[in-house]
Amino acid sequence: MDTTVSFVLNGKAVTVRSPRDRMLVWVLRDELGLTGTKVGCEAGLCGACTVLVDIEAVPSCSTTLGDVAGKTVLTIEGLALDGQLNPVQKAFQEHHAFQCGYCTSGMILAAWAFLKKKPRATRTEIVEAMEGNLCRCGAHVRILDAVESAGKAMGGVR
């Protein structure tokens, strides 16, 4: 049954009429047209649909619209502010930390959520933080390099 749910999306208040148990990924892609969030497994196993809910990285395929009522949601489209790429985006660009790009939105958001909490992370900690996100093209090493260098750019010098 359709209900009205309000939340903050990429810095702006939005109100959506949709069933509360509809998965957020469909609300974002289908209802709101934000297709940067990708669908890879619909089971929380691949991380392609990762978004930030109140700055926690979550799989939007396994998060309902009701779950984000009154909360703050950040998608890849909202990451660059006022024309400034986010430090993680910059690092992914510099390191060419992607190939097909299908996992990239989720990778960047997972990394951003992690680095916000812990910019001074060890390589092992970065691996653990990114373990839930799959990349099929094999950009793994570059992704880790990019996350590490983004952490440094965010002031997390160890």
């Binding site: 892609r29 297709t35 890879g40 497994c41 089971a43 024309g83 992914f92 190939q99 093209c137 094999g138």
Partner: protein, 698 residues
């Protein structure tokens, strides 16, 4: 930069398809099928504002075709690659091309494109010569402008010269710039798809939002071998907005919302008929061997095997197995099709726009000119999107609902079920080494499940026999090309076998290969790999956990060195270091090539250690990434890549070669670590434990 400008910048970066309508006339197509058009205007169009558009029938799968092809055009026309707008994979706008696969782009298409750009440069210079009243030799060219060297104010631009028209002048074959004059080739160039991909702006087939789109979910049989007989759609049709389309055994549930279409599909009750194959993931190997046996044919035969066997001092006989493996592209197969005014347009995640165009035309009994394929950014291919069964489903449905865009996006379960797997295979090799440990006296190889493609490498062998079956329909499941098809299966067997011979004879595996290799290029590459890695020769198993393997794909050569740690209680293999030395001739885009090698190594660590399709009869038991195990970050080690300096050889493709020796290097590393030989890909912890159990107890 203001946000608005920035977003426009992003949009521009994402404009793969810069020219939305053909400039002037229809695209120039080849005069005979299976050939590239010779007119350079087919590939290059200069718009009135002087921007250069490059049209190629390849697709951007992530492999970097967009960037490296732009580099070649920019090189000849003295532009920045950012000044070249790439239009890829649109069958209405691009000249015919082969599929984006088999490492063909750099080998086949690139020289054609570079030649076209070289001719365009020469034509532009002649046009400028006439306009500026100066001989071509006195002109300079850069960033879309041409001027008189001695009088730079006497200048013109590409845009002024061409005025958006087709360039009528032709000069025939024009030689590209000599390498010594090149300023881009061999340099790191920013990927053209970077901004679009890091901002989420890049559009994949599933990201199109054509007004009125209906999402179609197709009813699947529970098993291969079964097809739809009857269907009860009443419950599904009670959901508002649901439409049902049936075309023979294809039944689809349509809805404006993708998730609702999926929910409605679950309410359809189908019955299915047919026969499942009577085999499973354990019995498959004997099944293949038995079924292939009567059809075995000798593909290659040299010398006398019996004589060779008599000469042998060390003989090894082994059977190497490979499981079915999925492409598992992170983007499942997705297509949008629209049937309008007698024409079918398909926006597809495909590696082969022109093959797909012909397949769609055939499926709908239409002329090829009535079908347009527009490839989008593709979220990984690896051979899995060479044909487009999902796209064919989409057009069959769209054909029944004129004017309505139909999206078919397989979910993960469908993608794993309907994939064309890397074939399961069995390779049996019996071979011998002489007492001097310098000659293979005989080598007898029989495969089932694959061909003997790339089975031979440049090793001296006194007597050889390679057999492969000519048995159509050998496989109970659908199989297809999976990155370096046949080659990696055969290299796994060959390089494992050589390693086993070396160990049994007490000679170190590098020394043995040095004695056998009869190709100077491979020998140099072996030295480069071993020196870069810093490997001290010693007969295995040394306990160090280092393995070596060689491989080839056409003229591309690779030597791989892996270092692993094996947990003998759990059987878990951890890759600690991986190096590849690669010789693919002239490396145009070094960072792009390096990405391909890193990607191949990473992907094949999964192939070697964890990826396997489990099945029972026609039922695919793997439904998602919880059992189909792609390598995650913790599985990937430090990766080193070193390219042979071989600019004199024409560029070979790079998608396939680095795949070839990975599993073999890892298997040899496991042997070096433990003394146990793993012969079944993937060597999962269970299989490693089994191999350890077979070791003689001390």
């Amino acid at each position: 930069m203001r946000r608005r400008d920035f977003l426009q910048g992003v949009a521009a970066g994402a404009l793969t398809f810069f020219f939305t309508t053909p400039l002037g006339s229809a695209p120039i197509q080849p005069t005979r099928p299976g050939a590239y058009p010779e007119d350079f205007n087919a590939y290059l169009k200069i718009s009135a504002d002087g921007r250069v558009g490059c049209f190629v029938g390849k697709v951007e799968l992530g492999q970097g075709a967009m960037t490296v092809l732009a580099m070649l055009v920019a090189e000849e026309l003295e532009l920045d690659p950012a000044q070249v707008d790439m239009c890829l994979g649109d069958t209405d706008l691009c000249p015919w091309d082969m599929p984006t696969g088999g490492s063909l782009t750099m080998w086949h298409t690139a020289p054609v494109l570079r030649g076209a750009a070289a001719e365009a440069r020469a034509v532009l210079l002649r046009m400028a010569s006439k306009t500026l009243g100066a001989p071509v030799a006195d002109l300079a060219l850069k960033d879309g402008a041409i001027w008189v060297k001695a009088a730079p104010t006497r200048r013109t631009t590409f845009g002024e010269l061409v005025k958006g028209r087709k360039m009528e002048r032709h000069l025939g074959k024009v030689k590209p710039k000599p390498l010594s004059d090149c300023t881009l080739i061999g340099r790191r160039v920013p990927r053209k798809d970077a901004l679009a991909k890091i901002t989420g702006a890049a559009k994949y087939a599933g990201d199109l939002r054509l007004p009125g789109t209906l999402h179609a979910c197709v009813l699947r049989p529970p098993a291969h071998g079964l097809t739809l007989a009857t269907a009860d759609t009443a419950a599904a049709e009670r959901i508002p907005g649901v439409r049902i389309v049936r075309d023979g055994t294809l039944l689809a549930v349509l809805h404006p919302q993708p998730d609702t279409a999926r929910t409605a599909l679950a309410l359809v009750k189908g019955t299915f008929e047919g026969t499942e194959p009577d085999v499973d993931d354990v019995r498959i190997y004997q099944y293949l061997v038995d079924k292939a046996a009567p059809g075995q044919r000798v593909m290659i035969s040299r010398g006398d095997l019996a004589v060779g066997e008599k000469r042998a001092a060390t003989v090894v006989e082994e059977e190497y197995r490979n499981a079915y493996e999925s492409h598992a592209t992170l983007e499942p197969h997705t297509s949008v099709a629209k049937w309008e005014e007698g024409r079918m347009t398909v926006w597809a995640s495909t590696q082969s726009p022109f093959v797909l165009r012909d397949a769609v035309a055939e499926a709908l009994k239409l002329g090829q000119d009535k079908v347009r394929i527009i490839a989008q950014f593709v979220g990984g291919g690896f051979g899995g999107k060479l044909v487009g069964p999902g796209a064919v489903e989409a057009v069959r449905i769209a054909h029944k609902v004129p004017g309505v865009p139909i999206q078919v996006a397989w979910n993960r379960e469908e993608d794993l079920f309907l994939d064309t797997y890397r074939p399961a295979a069995v390779v049996k090799i019996r071979s011998g080494l002489d007492a001097g440990r310098g000659a293979i006296t005989f080598w007898d190889s029989t495969v089932a499940g694959v061909s003997q493609g790339e089975a031979e490498l440049a090793y001296d062998m006194q007597a050889t026999r390679y057999q492969a079956p000519a048995v159509p329909g050998l496989h109970p499941l659908r199989v297809g090309a999976w990155r370096a098809p046949n080659a990696h299966t055969n290299a796994f067997a060959r390089e494992s076998q050589l390693d086993a011979l070396a160990a049994k004879a007490g000679v170190d595996p590098v020394t043995l290969r040095r004695r056998l290799i009869n190709d100077a290029r491979l020998l140099r590459l072996l030295d480069l790999a071993v020196e870069t890695f810093g490997w001290e020769p010693a007969p295995g198993p040394t306990g160090r956990g280092i393995g070596l393997a060689c491989g080839a794909w056409r003229q591309g050569l690779v030597v791989a060195l892996a270092q692993v740690a094996v947990d003998k209680t759990t059987g878990k293999v951890k890759t600690e270091r991986f190096l590849e030395a690669v010789d693919v001739g002239l490396v145009v885009n070094p960072d792009g090539a390096r990405q391909q090698v890193e990607g191949a190594i990473t992907m094949c660590i999964g192939q070697a250690l964890s990826e396997e399709i489990h099945f029972k009869g026609g039922r695919i038991l793997d439904k998602n990434f919880d059992t189909y195990l792609l390598p995650r970050f913790s599985a990937i080690p430090r990766i080193e890549v070193v390219f042979a300096d071989n600019a004199a050889m024409a560029t070979q493709g790079i998608g396939e070669p680095p795949v070839v020796p990975v599993a073999a290097a890892l298997a040899n590393a496991v042997f070096d670590a433990t003394g146990a030989r793993v012969t079944h890909v993937p060597f999962t912890p269970e299989r490693v434990l089994e191999a350890l159990k077979r070791l003689p107890t001390k």
